[in-house]
Symmetry: D2
Subunit: 282 residues, 4 copies
Amino acid sequence: MKSSTGTASPERRAQKRIPDGKWRTALTDIEPNKILLRGYAVDELMGRLTFGEAIYLLLMGEIPSPSMGTLMDAMLVSFIDHGTTPPSTLSARNTATTGAPLRACVAAGVLGFGTYHGGDIERCQLFLDGGLDLVREGQSYRKAAETIVERCQATDQALPGFGHRYHTIDPRATRLLQLAHELEVDQAYTQLLRALEHEFTRHQAFASRPLPINVDGAVAAICADVGLPPEVADALLIISRVPGLAAHALEEQQREAPMRAIDPTSHAYDGPKERRMPERRS
Amino acid sequence: MKSSTGTASPERRAQKRIPDGKWRTALTDIEPNKILLRGYAVDELMGRLTFGEAIYLLLMGEIPSPSMGTLMDAMLVSFIDHGTTPPSTLSARNTATTGAPLRACVAAGVLGFGTYHGGDIERCQLFLDGGLDLVREGQSYRKAAETIVERCQATDQALPGFGHRYHTIDPRATRLLQLAHELEVDQAYTQLLRALEHEFTRHQAFASRPLPINVDGAVAAICADVGLPPEVADALLIISRVPGLAAHALEEQQREAPMRAIDPTSHAYDGPKERRMPERRS
Amino acid sequence: MKSSTGTASPERRAQKRIPDGKWRTALTDIEPNKILLRGYAVDELMGRLTFGEAIYLLLMGEIPSPSMGTLMDAMLVSFIDHGTTPPSTLSARNTATTGAPLRACVAAGVLGFGTYHGGDIERCQLFLDGGLDLVREGQSYRKAAETIVERCQATDQALPGFGHRYHTIDPRATRLLQLAHELEVDQAYTQLLRALEHEFTRHQAFASRPLPINVDGAVAAICADVGLPPEVADALLIISRVPGLAAHALEEQQREAPMRAIDPTSHAYDGPKERRMPERRS
Amino acid sequence: MKSSTGTASPERRAQKRIPDGKWRTALTDIEPNKILLRGYAVDELMGRLTFGEAIYLLLMGEIPSPSMGTLMDAMLVSFIDHGTTPPSTLSARNTATTGAPLRACVAAGVLGFGTYHGGDIERCQLFLDGGLDLVREGQSYRKAAETIVERCQATDQALPGFGHRYHTIDPRATRLLQLAHELEVDQAYTQLLRALEHEFTRHQAFASRPLPINVDGAVAAICADVGLPPEVADALLIISRVPGLAAHALEEQQREAPMRAIDPTSHAYDGPKERRMPERRS
């Protein structure tokens, strides 16, 4: 299939770099009766790291600080489910209605994180990078935000990280930014994000359409501020959404008839009414 | 796909049970500026529940007790990565080497949790159920274990939940059972599991092949003891393995040449040496 | 993950059967400037075999007879598209609406051939096998059909291979059986299938619901008559449906807005009106 | 997840164009006892069109000319299997070794048609377009080819459509171009492709590495000449490779032990020896 890739460029050929002819992994070392994740015995980690912290360790190579750990779990929780309407959820449910096993439903759903769905984090970082270039050139965050907002006014493009189809305030974004502030991890990206929201609110051209920071924007800015590269943010997004896909597939299997036609706009919620967390938890 | 499903049986037709013609979900309720997971505002959960606890809430409908929460995170951490050799990991890496996006690599890997790979939890529960029938009939755990071990001797079948291709003691199983004991959630299934291991060790017929409790066995018994149904245990397994699939796909993209032929037996670990957790964490 | 499979049973261990330690394939041999499919140079096959005939060669090991080749292409054409409502098609479209690449849409769709969707061929063969046991014991096809229909009357189960959610006559089944007859490949399974349809039509109990042979029934009977094993029939089904999945994903990408909510029941056809094949083709 | 896509741009909003609120499909019309593919009754097509011709009809909207039909089948046959080494095949086999169902194996394999694997057709068309711009400006094919080859000399990039990792002549490319010539469908793209191969052979800089036209190059040029757009060529590639994925997954299930570690470089072919097509076929 590959063909012309056969005439490989120099940097590809460079891979035959290892004397013993073996390829390398730095993730997990398996020895008799020992499983080491990034050097730590997995049984020592169990009960001591949360799942979110272990995910950070696996992807970033080090145990996160307690603040970073809290933020990881919070980001993963923020994306855990989006209700019945996202196309990825509908793919999982459509697969479930055919009687396919759970893993097939989850896989079909994961494939639905495409360009338009779940792809905003990297675009948002690039968008913010544009503004931070101005800050690095000496402009204040407010001035940089004004310049960006003027530019946006001219175009009619979607603004990555801002606005929501349904909500006028995205409660997940508000909470994530609050947490990042409390944990003292917010820096330049977050600061510019807030400055931009402020300008959008003030600017006449955007008076008719609310452009609050959305959860993609908050995650993008915080990941950039704490040094999580875009491909890790992308991995977090996929990881965070899998429990929701599984839950929808299981609900479909348990509550609905096989082979039904799923109209995404015609459903109603019949779960528990709104309730508060138990005291000791909050 | 028509056919005989057309002549639907009565219980299928029964689904048109809802007066307003809408279908129902009990997972997530989306209202303006409000996202309720099982009745709880997601922004209230963020920073207060770990990812493992939120997964429990989504799948089981309630916030777990602190003990249950710790156990959830521990079980999810226990499966997080299995090194480079499982076929699911190899599917993820083979997909990554073609230049496919991360979500495609993860999806390909998830599909590899098949009958032989990751399917032992339900079989192990069924195996233990057989023994618990004897206990319910009045036998002691030890006596029931003896009976089961005698039966196993006759057949040459694999014993679900026991033995490991590589390890003679599975450190994850040991740790999980210890945690379950400390958290006081271990009950009949766990007790029988331990009794069986004891009998396997004593019994002449199994002298030549070690049959320690493996991590599937520990997870199966604990899930059964704490009331997680098999389909939820199945979901946990899929969820827990996704970070490892993502980490391998990212490492493949970053360290290896495209379109390489991946020999699973010819790799070496070059990550951090064995190290201990930081004090404050343990 | 592996666990108890580690204590592999004897027949598994038997696989290390090959002296040179290499594993074997009988599909395709690649030599310098030569690609041999089942022994035939692929460039010699090109332009001489239809795609359907080449699929037969690959799956069955031999070039089909001209009759068998015609039948293969006809079976593959019969399943090529089922309109917009099957869940597999909806998964492909839901994946496409997220901006995912074509291969992801096709993969998501393929996962939706589950127990209830596309799984009838093997069940239909088993159903027919039940009747053929009676024939082998000396009953006539008609008598065997009567016995089976009596049995079916008692139960309220779906009858694999018969009936359709929407059509009262399945035109694909009619045509396939006609072709099989013209090509003189129809034998015992097909004969029993026809006898059963005849009995269903005559029998009072089924007077209110038409139970015509459906396309799954026709394919199942013909595959059994011509010696295609169930797993090959399963492969044919998957292969035949891929062009339809791809066509729907492409149409979604080209005609619809990203991230739309796809209501499967609310669409209209706006393609060419009914038309006849060009003369020279029929 | 949707976020900024909420502030949809004008052309997206334009989709609400249809008075009755229904969305549209032009592929298949289902009426009682009638299934119309692009206006043709599927039962009329069965036995009259090959699978390749029906695929053309579904994707392009019209029944192909006999020449175009022959070419379709030939292109689909050319890609049908690539042996055991492509990563997509290995994903299918790795999934099969876990005991997953056939459709999961095929889906995992389909995901492996990525940037480097099967992605050359569009790049090759773009590469040829560059040369045809020169032809349109008045240069001869030979002169345009010389200019392109000079440019390529400077860079060390892979040349889409030329060269092969393993073969020095790609027999599928040779045969496809021969067929296109016999069927009189070869035009500008094919002509430039041949001129380029001629120049690569003559040019000193490429003396040490053979750069024959490969099958991707031949398919890309022919598709462009006959008016198949790149996204249809992409669909053809996926469709053509599915039988091979299914055949490898079935062979894995039937011949190999579960959960084996598949070393892609350590296999041997044990199928039929090289043989000629039966007379009446050639």
